[in-house]
């Protein structure tokens, strides 16, 4: 079953979008004022692009939130995200090397965290988690990684012992 998303994540994404677009608009306005007198058509074009970007920035957080799913089983992590382009990622837990819990200043404002899992082939971020849930997931994954790593080491030791025994048998 997919993890229940925290509703606060929508507002976090919206706040982040608004801040980004505000900064971008300020830079655009300053740029337009400082630039050589531009053709009115180009000025209007740039402002229209900015307006469209604002529209997208206000809608996308809700779309992203609705189209994000993450699931944890005994064996794997399954993440599904995206609306225009649906991306699905499967990561076996036994392949995990490291886990990182990150909280930015905005995340802290909304009580959210993200968990980043690292494998030998790359990394993936699990988003829209409450702090406690992120800690819980981090703890569970950490214990499972340890279990898999210990089991794999035990199997290697047994394999080495078998090889040594067979060599001794040959020598005798």
């Amino acid at each position: 079953m997919y993890e229940k998303r925290n509703p606060k994540a929508r507002w976090l994404l919206l706040t982040s979008s608004v801040i980004t677009m505000t900064v971008a608009t300020i830079i655009l306005v300053i740029g337009l004022k400082m630039a050589q007198p531009l053709e009115p058509m180009i000025q209007k074009g740039l402002l229209a692009v900015d307006l469209i970007a604002w529209l997208v920035a206000l809608i996308m957080p809700f779309v992203r939130y609705n189209w994000y799913r993450a699931r944890f089983t005994e064996e794997e992590i399954d993440i599904r995200q995206g609306f225009l382009i649906i991306k699905e990622i499967i990561i076996p837990i036994e392949r995990l090397q490291k886990i990182s819990l990150e909280t930015g200043p905005l995340d802290r404002l909304f009580g959210m965290s993200k968990v980043i899992v690292y494998t030998a082939g790359g990394e993936e971020t699990i988003r829209f988690l409450e702090n406690e849930r992120a800690e819980q997931i981090g703890e569970v994954l950490k214990n499972r990684i340890n279990r898999y790593a210990i089991r794999s080491r035990e199997q290697e030791i047994k394999k080495e012992e078998r090889t040594l025994n067979s060599r001794e048998g040959q020598v005798l």
């Binding site: 649906i86 990622i89 090397q97 819990l101 909280t103 930015g104 690292y118 082939g121 340890n146 790593a149």
Partner: protein
């Protein structure tokens, strides 16, 4: 004293100075260079201009103080805990970060000292795992005093091996490494025993001395380096064969660029002559372009030199490769470290019936970062026998065994190819006609002006045709096979490559589907593996969504419970 955990371990206080030394340096320079001047200016209430100068200095001063403050804050809020076989590195600054590393996944624990640390007497403990994201940097590092650093390193190493940690009373033993000393004592005892035995048996004396000598020189190797243990090579490529291998390894892009540049050189030569330029001038322009073509063509020679005297053999769990004319190289490839197996065939290779074989593993440099070459472009009929000699674990999946791509993908790609490139060519022609023709005519280059009016659409059409044929060939070539133990994917058009990946080597699987692919019920995927940067992501081309879902299910079913 048995100790299995560490709580709230901070960096050494010198971390504050080390991480903010730049800010401290600026602060000191500001004070030394401007301190008395500033005091004098403030005292004498000089003009507006000096207040601006004082303001600038004030900003630098404030920035430096802030940096030092942040370093202090980072030191205070960063702690290391080792509890229950897991290491937690917490940084509770503006961007809070908490890294959890299971001790059993740690690959390296190193100690380092820069100049400042040597003066202060501290050590930097660096911990690495096998995660790809931190391949070029350390996963975690902490600065500690000498005792703490060695104690922590020892503790982590012992806990990694699943042993219980016993704190060493004598730091010198830890520093020199008790295990190393024990090895040294053991070596000496073995040597004495061997010498005693050899005294009884003079014939064995020579062998004992040489083996002891080898043991002394290379105590950590189980077998001699293969250069000293050369058996007969299973495969040797002759010089003539090597020329053919080098030719067959040229891909069509390279071939296209070289031929195009030569063609441009010839056309330019005649165009300049017709336009009234001097013979020497035309020749120089032509030669410049021809040299550029030669620069691309040098890769053929490079390949020949790389694969000169190519020899391969298999011994136990290693494959040994030796080759090279000017730069000799000898590699050993551990078979169990192979992540994937790859066949490559270029356009010329198709015509010459030659295929090269490479494996994807970790490491490599320059030519090998995209995979280690096992066999250069050898004849198709000889390939199965050659492969059986050096890598019998893999067999070549025939094209007939692969499921092809759906035809609807071809039609879509052809339409997109036609439309996008046609728009590009038409726009280029229009822009040329509007802006460049007049300039050519003003300079009297009428032939050149008319020439490009014809050439741009002509080259554009050839480009569209070339891509169209490539897409058609890709449809015929590409395929996928989802077997029990491994995945086989063939991708490409004029040149193709076939990659075989065992499921247990896949680190993560990602599938993607945009709006158009959703409508057409197709998907693309990518596989992440433990390999060097160029080779660690292997793309699976567009196939039927059901096939990609089958791959997902197969991958999930092979994951251990």
């Amino acid at each position: 004293m048995e100790k299995r955990e560490i709580r709230n371990l901070h960096n050494h206080p010198s971390y504050i100075i080390e991480s903010s030394w730049g800010a401290i340096f600026v602060l000191v320079m500001l004070v030394l260079n401007n301190g008395t001047n500033v005091v004098r200016m403030l005292h004498s209430y000089e003009s507006q201009k000096n207040f601006e100068f004082i303001g600038m200095l004030g900003i630098f001063f404030l920035y430096s103080v802030l940096m030092i403050f942040f370093s202090f804050r980072r030191w205070k809020l960063t702690v290391l805990n080792i509890v229950d076989g897991s290491m937690t590195w917490e940084q509770n600054t503006i961007f809070a970060k908490k890294q959890e590393i299971a001790l059993s996944t740690i690959s390296n624990v190193n100690l380092e000292q820069n100049l400042f640390e040597r003066l202060i007497g501290t050590y930097k403990l660096k911990i690495d795992t096998s995660s790809l994201s931190t391949a070029n940097k350390t996963d975690m590092k902490i600065i500690l005093g000498k005792e703490d650093a060695f104690m922590l390193q020892n503790m982590i190493l012992q806990l990694m091996r699943g042993e219980s940690f016993e704190e060493e009373a004598n730091i010198e033993e830890v520093v020199q490494g008790r295990d190393f000393e024990e090895q040294g004592i053991e070596k000496k005892q073995n040597l004495s025993a061997m010498q005693a035995q050899s005294a009884k048996n003079p014939e064995a004396m020579q062998d004992a001395a040489s083996s002891a000598d080898i043991q002394e020189k290379r105590p950590f190797q189980e077998e001699l380096p293969f250069q000293e243990n050369m058996g007969k090579y299973a495969i040797e490529i002759s010089a003539i064969e090597n020329i053919q291998c080098a030719l067959a390894s040229i891909n069509e892009s390279m071939l296209g660029i070289v031929l195009s540049l030569f063609l441009i050189a010839v056309i330019l030569f005649f165009a300049m002559l017709v336009s009234g330029a001097a013979l020497g001038e035309a020749f120089v322009s032509c030669a410049a372009v021809a040299l550029a073509a030669g620069g691309f063509a040098k890769n053929i020679g490079k390949k020949f030199l790389y694969c000169y005297n190519y020899k391969v053999r298999r011994s136990g769990k290693h494959i040994y490769i030796s080759s090279g004319a000017i730069k000799k190289q000898s590699y050993s490839v551990p078979v169990d470290k192979i992540q994937a197996f790859r066949l490559n065939k270029t356009l010329l290779g198709r015509l010459m019936h030659r295929t090269s074989v490479s494996v994807i593993n970790i490491g490599g440099e320059q030519d090998d970062v995209n995979g280690q070459l096992l066999l250069p472009a050898v004849l198709d009929r000889d390939l199965p026998a050659m492969l059986a000699k050096i890598l019998p674990e893999y067999h070549i999946t025939a094209q007939e065994e692969l499921c092809p791509r759906p035809k609807r993908v071809l039609w879509r790609k052809q339409l997109v190819n036609l439309f996008t490139k046609a728009v590009f060519v038409i726009l280029s022609s229009l822009l040329y006609t509007k802006y460049a023709v007049e300039e050519f005519q003003e300079e009297g280059l009428f032939f050149a002006a008319d020439f490009f009016v014809v050439m741009i659409p002509l080259v554009g059409c050839l480009w569209i045709l070339w891509n169209s044929i490539n897409l058609f060939l890709a449809q015929k070539t590409e395929g996928i096979k989802i077997a029990d133990q491994l995945l086989t994917v063939r991708r490409g058009g004029f040149s193709w490559e076939q990659i075989e990946i065992p499921y247990d080597k896949i680190q993560q699987l990602t599938t993607k589907q945009d709006l158009l692919k959703r409508f057409m019920h197709t998907k693309v995927a990518s596989i992440h593996m433990l390999a060097s940067a160029l080779a660690n992501v292997q793309k699976i081309p567009e196939f039927d969504a059901k096939q990609i879902e089958q791959l997902q299910e197969k991958f999930q079913s092979t994951i251990l419970a």
